[in-house]
């Protein structure tokens, strides 16, 4: 049997904390299989060796926040056959998208001694606003099993099992007691996409919405219920302005409550 060429994978970083790339390094048990199945050709977090493109898969972490990045992502797209964005920054703009609700120039003048040296865009935007994205993997950070699932699916030419239904489905399957119903703890699980395995409710915390809005999220109904649980309009704004603040359903919901404050 002729030796099959291993798919070449690149991992790219834009504005982000590196947490999602670390999920790949965190696949300790699976890493050998990963390394055997793919050629990680460009991954500065793990190695300095760089293999030239084109790449079969590009994993893109981070959002676009500078004019330079806006150009660089075009280059990444040109050298990639499949472009997969990983994490809340790349799929929704990340926590840094909080700037999108304010005037970024004001921040710059407060934070930096020489604002003139700072070259930045008005908004932090997801990769899909700039180039065509083949698959978006959610999470802050992403779930390593989902990452392996997406890579395996790609390598085996099948559809990844990455559902877009609620966190509640995972919460109930694992038998966790609902924190909202049993203790009145506000939880974003009913409007958030599954994928984390419902970790927070298993530790008696409400969901923070790390995986962003689920399919057809009814944020208005959940907010109305949170109000009955005693959550203020201001805290509702904060809840929807997390890592996925700029994902449209969360953005719109936070704006509704901002106006009511």
């Amino acid at each position: 049997m002729a030796k099959v060429r291993k798919p070449k994978v690149a991992v790219w970083k834009f504005a982000s904390c590196d947490g999602c790339q670390l999920s790949l390094l965190d696949c300790e048990d699976e890493l050998l299989a990963v390394a055997g199945a793919i050629d990680i050709a460009y991954f500065l977090e793990a190695s300095r060796a760089v293999v030239e493109g084109p790449y079969d898969i590009s994993l893109v972490e981070g959002s676009i926040t500078t004019p330079h990045d806006a150009e660089r992502i075009q280059e990444v797209r040109r050298v990639s056959k499949f472009l997969i964005t990983i994490g809340a920054c790349a799929t929704a703009g990340g926590i840094q998208a909080l700037r999108n609700f304010k005037d970024v120039k004001e921040f710059i003048s407060i934070v930096y001694a020489k604002p003139a040296y700072i070259s930045t865009l008005e908004k932090s935007t997801p990769i899909a606003e700039h180039v065509k994205v083949d698959f978006e993997l959610r999470g802050c950070p992403i779930n390593k099993y989902q990452l392996i699932e997406v890579i395996s699916a790609f390598l085996n030419g099948r559809k990844p099992n990455v559902p877009s239904y609620s966190v509640c489905m995972e919460c109930k399957r694992r038998g966790t007691v609902c924190v909202m119903t049993a203790y009145g703890t506000p939880c974003l699980g009913p409007v958030t996409q599954a994928g984390c395995g419902a970790i927070c409710p298993a530790y008696h915390r409400g969901c923070y919405g790390c995986f962003g809005p689920k399919e057809t999220p009814n944020t208005a109904s959940l907010s109305a219920w949170w109000r009955k649980l005693g959550v203020t309009e201001q805290d509702l704004v904060r809840a929807f302005r997390g890592f996925n603040a700029y994902a449209e359903p969360f953005r719109k919901e936070s704006e509704v409550h901002e106006q009511k404050q």
């Binding site: 990963v34 099992n161 559902p163 239904y165 609902c178 119903t181 057809t216 009814n218 109305a224």
Partner: protein
């Protein structure tokens, strides 16, 4: 001995568990975890929620201390027995690459032999309903059947109903009438604490022989009956089921579906907690090297978009369509499909809906609007 009733003192309840465990049963039942009464392993009577009760309403559940030390003084929680008979995640088979072909490795793991402790009447009915779904002649599910045929059921008659219970409306409780090996009614009276135990099967009789008992007198049986009758009067919810199938079928375009869709989160909690909902999806997963594949079955729900996805999109794209599918399946098309209602009135979907949507309230709204229209027309 079947049909006969005996008295079992509270202090001898442990002997019942011992007898079951000695027979090789894994005893599972209600226990407190994470602030609720869930179903888990019961090694001894002390693992049961002694002296606890639950307060339930739409979207709200709270554990409360009781003033007495009742062992079964609460109703049903977020778990149901379907967790054990129809597990939420189940590996069906694996396949391994084998030269040019592949070999299938079926999941032949022997399922545990469970004794369910504290099955309520509504839950017995839910098990019968799932029996009709899974052990239906040609279409028998081997995984369900393997678990189901081994179980031992210790039923408990409810002597107190919950805030969202409506078994009386669904004719499924609160007294366990069939399908149990043993059924207990708990009685606390002054210093006396005992159970009236009814024998349902030969298996049940055999177990009870290892427990000290006395024959129950007619007066004991009367006390037990009175307690259960009291529960029947305490139902937290009520559902008028008169011609319910026709009522729902004639109202498929009722504006109430739009109204409930503004509140429904399509989060699927109601279907996950419902003891009769049975839908699953299968996921095929492969490993990175492509040498192993696995087929996993998981609980699914009619509230997801994927559930009704056919080429080109989801048939039930709107929340309205999904809620309507769920409610009309439970209360109407289930009757066409399986010959019974799909709802046993356990109230779980009401309590565990994060926004307190109430199946009885939705039906009432539709029924009342029809009645109002009729009276307007001078009918």
């Amino acid at each position: 001995m079947i049909g006969e009733q005996f008295l079992v003192e509270r202090r001898d309840l442990q002997k019942l568990l011992d007898a079951l465990q000695k027979k090789g049963y894994e005893t599972v039942g209600p226990t407190i975890r994470e602030g609720a009464i869930v179903y888990g392993p019961i090694a001894s009577v002390e693992d049961l929620p002694i002296g606890w009760t639950d307060e339930q309403d739409g979207g709200r559940y709270r554990l409360k201390r009781r003033e007495d030390s009742a062992v079964f003084g609460y109703v049903v929680g977020p778990h149901s027995w379907k967790r054990f008979l129809h597990p939420p995640v189940l590996s069906l088979w694996k396949a391994r690459r084998n030269g040019k072909g592949f070999e299938v490795v079926p999941n032949n793991a022997e399922p545990p032999q469970y004794a369910f402790i504290g099955v309520r009447s509504c839950e017995l009915h839910a098990i019968f309903i799932q029996d009709r779904v899974f052990t239906n002649g040609k279409f028998t599910d081997p995984h369900y059947q393997a678990r189901r045929q081994k179980i031992f059921i210790v039923a408990v008659n409810c002597v107190q109903a919950g805030g969202t219970c409506f078994c009386v409306s669904m004719k499924t409780g609160p007294r366990a009438t069939v399908g149990f090996d043993l059924a207990l009614t708990e009685i606390l009276e002054g210093q006396r604490h005992y159970f009236v135990a009814e024998v349902g099967t030969e298996k049940g009789a055999e177990i009870l022989r290892s427990v000290p008992t006395k024959p129950a007198q007619p007066s004991d049986i009367q006390i037990a009956e009175d307690r259960v009758a009291r529960a029947a009067r305490q139902m937290g919810r009520h559902l008028d089921t008169t011609n319910i199938r026709e009522l729902l079928y004639r109202n498929l375009e009722h504006p109430r579906w739009d109204e409930v869709a503004t509140r429904c989160l399509n989060c699927a909690n109601c279907t996950m907690v419902c003891p009769t909902c049975f839908c699953t999806t299968v996921e095929d997963v492969t490993d990175l090297t492509g040498t192993e594949a696995e087929r996993v079955r998981k609980w699914d729900s009619c509230f997801t978009l994927d559930f009704s996805y056919v080429h080109g999109g989801s048939v039930r794209a709107s929340a309205r369509a999904r809620y309507r599918q769920w409610l009309t399946h439970k209360l109407a098309s289930w009757i066409d499909q399986f010959g019974t209602s799909g709802c046993v009135g356990c109230g779980r979907c009401i309590t565990w809906c994060p926004v307190g949507i109430d199946i009885t309230e939705e039906v009432r709204a539709i029924r009342q609007s029809e009645a109002a229209q009729l009276s307007e027309r001078g009918g």
